[in-house]
Amino acid sequence: MNGLWLGVLGTSLIAFFLKFSGHSIPEKYVTNPRALRINTLIPIALLSALVGVQTLTEKGKWVIDQRLAGVAVALIALSVKAPYFVVVISAAVTSAVLYRM
């Protein structure tokens, strides 16, 4: 089994395990306020890190290229409350135009 398949199946199995255990554990066992607080912060940290790494690095090296311009446009679109689709498409168009120039 290659890495991609391991990724697909491993992610799917654990995703279901997490969902199902939530439905099966009595709520009173999971009320630690610190754990709940950290859990709401984890997505913020991971997703932000993914934005940074995918915008500014390539194969472990720092790279500044058309992606940065695309993500900057996405940031502007988000700050004027554009819908999600406009955000993604505007980033793609910006980056593609610069790449082809």
Partner: protein, 222 residues
């Protein structure tokens, strides 16, 4: 299922369709990261949790190992477990129904269900099932469409897919940046992950920021 409140049905359907559309972005991102169309569709059918799916293809597409991809995706999936805890006493289902309920326990189904609180527990159940199934159908349909589209395009950079993926992540994290505290955490995470990228192997810099989240959340804020 007893009679469904019209407002609940409308809300469920509009959420399902809008969120389902994002599946196109995931399908394209997954192909750009090197996954096959079949693997891409399986991720949407089996994992069925947008942020986790983007994470596994994002990490592995950047050269990270399967294990660091799975770890990142799973850290993002913990919240679905907490949604399950919240939904179980409302749904009160067992056996196969519980298995199905678990699979469709995501941000949107839980969100719509909780949004129906004023309309009573039956409306909450309807909101959960309608939104869960609705997103499932649209998300998987649009994943396939996005994957086929990206396959036909060829070079991801020529179509801007290389910027569309981080923009998609940005769109996911944006609504969570509700205050200064969250924005500082986000900015610190970006800096930490970029700083670590040349030093440790791909994927690990992203997981490292989970520790940052733990440090930020350790003390209660006033």
């Amino acid at each position: 299922m007893s009679r469904v409140n019209r407002a609940t049905a409308t809300q469920s359907l509009s959420v399902s369709f809008t969120v389902g559309l994002y599946g196109t972005a995931f399908g394209a991102a997954s192909i750009a990261a090197g996954f096959s169309i079949f693997q891409t569709c399986l991720l949407s059918l089996l994992t069925f949790s947008g942020a986790s799916q983007f994470a596994i293809v994002g990490v592995m597409g950047a050269g990270g190992s399967a294990l660091s991809g799975i770890a990142t995706a799973s850290l993002l999936g913990i919240r679905n477990g907490l949604y399950g805890l919240r939904m179980a006493p409302i749904l009160k289902v067992r056996g196969l129904k519980r298995v199905i309920a678990a699979q469709i326990t995501i941000d949107e189904s839980t969100g719509v269900a909780i949004g129906q609180e004023d309309r009573g527990i039956v409306a909450m159940r309807h909101g959960f099932w309608l939104t869960g199934f609705g997103v499932y159908i649209f998300w998987n349909f649009f994943t396939l469409l996005g994957a086929l589209g990206a396959q036909a395009m060829g070079n991801p950079s020529a179509w801007g897919l290389d910027a569309a993926v981080p923009a998609a992540f940005l769109g996911l994290v944006w609504p969570r940046l509700i205050g200064k505290f969250e924005r500082i955490l986000a900015a610190s995470s970006v800096l930490l992950a970029i700083a670590l990228s040349p030093i440790i192997s791909a994927g690990l810099p992203i997981i490292a920021t989970a520790l940052l989240a733990a440090a930020f959340g350790w003390k209660e804020r006033v």
